[in-house]
């Protein structure tokens, strides 16, 4: 029962921070709310027996990526922007309707299934095991991902040259 309470509290924080990110006019605020959301998800990871991922979540997402966002926001000086309501009406209502359709569909599905699923035995998720899986079963995707990063780097380099020229 304690677990459920913890889950609910965290879920409320996660959903709340997401909503705040969505509705903040100030982009910096949005970013900060998102960091909170990521941190909450990191806690979920710990609960879900994934401590290593939790650490990565904090360092990479909450740390590196979000800092990058903030940095760009500051650089461009575009903190103040239009809010959600600046969107065209048709767009707003269609989006909201579609959101409800998705939520409704998944909710219906969950209700239909009922809470009958059985929890499997906990797996060993130490970094060593993760590394074994990563490098034994996913060697090629790993390499491809490396190339992807390389391409991103080269692309950024070219773009930055263009930016300097332009």
């Amino acid at each position: 029962m304690g677990n459920l309470i913890l889950f609910l509290i965290l879920a409320v924080i996660a959903i709340g921070s997401a909503i705040m990110m969505l509705f903040s006019r100030n982009a910096v605020h949005s970013a900060l709310w998102l960091i909170l959301n990521f941190a909450t998800i990191a806690v979920f990871y710990i609960i879900l027996n994934a401590p290593f991922l939790a650490m990565v979540q904090i360092t990479v997402y909450a740390g590196a990526i979000m800092v990058l966002f903030l940095f760009v926001i500051m650089l461009l000086g575009t903190e103040q922007g239009s809010g959600v309501l600046a969107t065209r009406r048709g767009q707003l209502w269609t989006a909201a309707g579609l959101g409800l359709v998705v939520l409704g569909s998944i909710g219906t599905a969950l209700v239909r299934i009922g809470g009958s699923s059985v929890q499997a035995a906990a797996a060993d998720t130490s970094p060593r095991v993760l590394a074994m899986i990563l490098f034994e079963n996913f060697t090629f995707p790993f390499e491809v991902t490396g190339i992807l990063l390389l391409v991103a780097v080269v692309g950024l380099y070219v773009m930055s040259k263009q930016l300097r020229k332009g």
Binding site: N3, Y61, V84, T125
Partner: protein
Amino acid sequence: MAVTIEWYIALSTILFTLGALGVLLRRNAIIIFMSVELMLNSANLLLVAFAHHLGDATGQVLVFFVMTVAAAEVAVGLALIVAIFQSKKSIDIGDVNLLRG
């Protein structure tokens, strides 16, 4: 009452929908990007939850790939935004409509 996988599916769905709404409703390109990150995170959460549910660490490994792609995407995306800002002096996506037919 134990926290079963269904709860996590529900939470993940809500976060995903919120992220999607952010993409659809905001006009600030940076916030749209943040919303995309939120959607990716909801997917990650679900992956980890299923890994826990099935007792198989492979799901956690997939999260690594998602994170990598996300990082690359953010890097390129933000660079694009900077580039757009330089030419348009705005990051409002309403101002970028070169594809208009």
